[in-house]
Symmetry: C3
Subunit: 274 residues, 3 copies
């Protein structure tokens, strides 16, 4: 099943419109190409609403939000809703400032999101309306562990029920949940946290996977999370082999995504459903 | 002849002012350094007009245009015209939205461009006033092939005559044309399309080559296109040799440009004039 | 001593708020992670003042300044001053346009900077109020050499006395000075000038080092300059070994920073005090 999800991405080359931060935007564009999609970035209101119309999915990432781009997020999100495109929210740093938290909540009120992806602190902020996000990284006290896993799964399902969106929580253990079912994914490597933008990249991959698999967003999102985590593992093997560092790791990560095939994905997925 | 064009770039280190999109701006800066030029980015009206005055060429790339930067494009383009600097237009996504198409046409009315570089769909939009651009990539139905090559060359020459600009159409086969003469260039590799921003990078290289070779923009542009295509071939050889992927390919591409010498260029050019 | 400075960075993981240009912002984020810090970028007034409050240092880099971000620089700088966070100024291209020069001077009037880092032309502009900056690179006539070293050290000390900031001048020879003492650092490699953003990256590293070593900004800044220069040397060795080019060099540079330990730093520092 997960293999066919990947094949659909490769065959359909979904065009993903990203309103995203300027810090990691280039990596987002390149990982979209690497995973089989195609990127387009547009954040001016007059441009973006029309651009989203020719696309297959929309990513709204609030990483370096400003007044101008926030307005575009709302207008474009509504347009994508009209067209029934999947819309994916990445609430970068929600909880770290009032503007980020407020924007996240207003977006959730006015735009229907298919998927919300964040670290555990950001997702808790989405749930509680306030958060303890340490900048753009998750607060250590929030970390998903084997001990609090059951509780976190329940929380994710509840939040999915509340928002009507699939919830993707990423960290050492990843959770992908709708209101009924959750996947627990143990792919990935901690070196991913040493590269800026791995969260942003994953959000874009999730968008491409969901755009190419409209009938099954839950499995598509889970496949995307697992695929990217697997690439993180393969990239780490190359860092060890070549005795390199974090920048090479970023290169290997995108390389791995560009070479990932269905067989490798099937063999490498560490996923269970709950 | 083409070797002396490359040598002029290396000797003169042309300073290229880029008003360009934030997706690929870092690669644009680094490929300019790699090819022997020097980059400077400035997009605020109060800053950019003055910055363009100390430069040797101006790139206007509409990739992530907005109201503020559009105003800067016009003012800066006119200033560069006053100073007789070469001005290069990259109409990214023209045809994909009204704002992009309209901005392209207004720029063509008010600014004199030395060179216009785009994919075939973008260039057709420049010609026809409407387009079928699929996001920022060329529409497959537009592709330049051996079958429609003669026709496309005629079209390029006609558009050059109409705009008084050298026309650079890039894709599997590249065309560089003024109203009288066209070069057909068969360098390059399809993996270039798997890296975000290869078009933007080429536009900047063309700017550096033309700035350093003011008396012969047609040959300079052709040398730039061929040089970058050749680097694309050399980079592909390294991908095969090292069994890597698309992100390594980007690194190899810029590496190759930073090491390209006149002899390698002469030996590797696949160019004919029509 | 310098080893303990590096260890403090690794142990404290200082969170550095960067208002920086969009050309090199991704490298700035990744080098901050690589050196042991953590980056956050925010440039909207409503967001940035609050974000700076949760951080340990603030970088103000004027590389692609505009009206909106300039306003944020002032408000955020003042907030950081209130909180006694170290604030680091990178006056990119000061001297190249009136807006850049004027903004630099107004910032120096209204914000207290702990450190000012630039190339010699930018720093001369800060001193004299006008400059000969060639775009974003130093003017060759300004270069710090063994012949004018004593004079330049005196100049740096005087400027430090005038601004109450530590002055960091980088180039073939680096100088880090307060009003009483200067370090002369001979680490680094000329290939660093072939990569866009090495100056911006260093500014961010200096911020992380100073944030983690609040009692000794002079030594912390010197350690940061020497550490980055040493990484430039190690990266060059890899370029020679692997016969690669400027883009690989950038990767090796960040890799080296991510692997730098106290022992390597101690063994590789080329530093003298004057």
């Amino acid at each position: 099943m997960f293999e066919s999800i990947l094949k659909n991405v490769h065959e359909k080359t979904p065009l993903v419109h990203c309103i995203t931060n300027y810090v990691t935007v280039n990596d987002v564009a390149n990982i979209l190409l690497a995973c089989g999609g195609s990127p387009i970035m547009a954040d001016d209101e007059k441009d973006a609403v029309e651009i989203t119309s020719i696309c297959n999915a929309l990513v709204i990432n609030i990483g370096t939000l400003n007044e101008r781009t926030i307005a575009t997020m709302f207008k474009t999100g509504k347009k994508a809703n009209e067209l029934s495109h999947p819309v994916i929210l990445d609430p970068v740093g929600a909880g770290a400032s009032k503007l980020r938290t407020d924007t996240t909540f207003k977006l959730l009120e006015e735009v229907k999101f298919s998927i919300i992806r964040g670290n555990i602190s950001e997702i808790k902020t989405v749930y509680k309306g306030s958060g303890t996000t340490k900048g753009v990284d998750a607060d250590i006290s929030d970390a998903v562990t084997e001990e609090n896993l059951d509780e976190t799964i329940s929380f994710a399902k509840e939040l999915s029920s509340k928002t009507n969106a699939i919830i993707v929580i990423t960290g050492a253990i990843d959770i992908v949940a709708d209101s009924n079912k959750a996947y627990v994914i143990r792919n990935g490597h901690q070196m991913m946290s040493m590269v800026s933008g791995t969260g942003c990249m994953l959000t874009a991959i999730v968008a491409a996977y969901c755009a190419a698999n409209p009938d099954n967003h839950l499995d598509a999102a889970a496949a995307a999370v697992s695929a990217f985590g697997l690439c993180g593992e393969l990239a780490y093997e190359k860092v060890v082999k070549n005795d390199t560092g974090t920048s090479s790791y970023r290169t290997y990560l995108i390389d791995a995504m560009s070479k990932l095939d269905a067989k490798t994905l099937k063999g490498g997925m560490k996923i269970e459903s709950r």
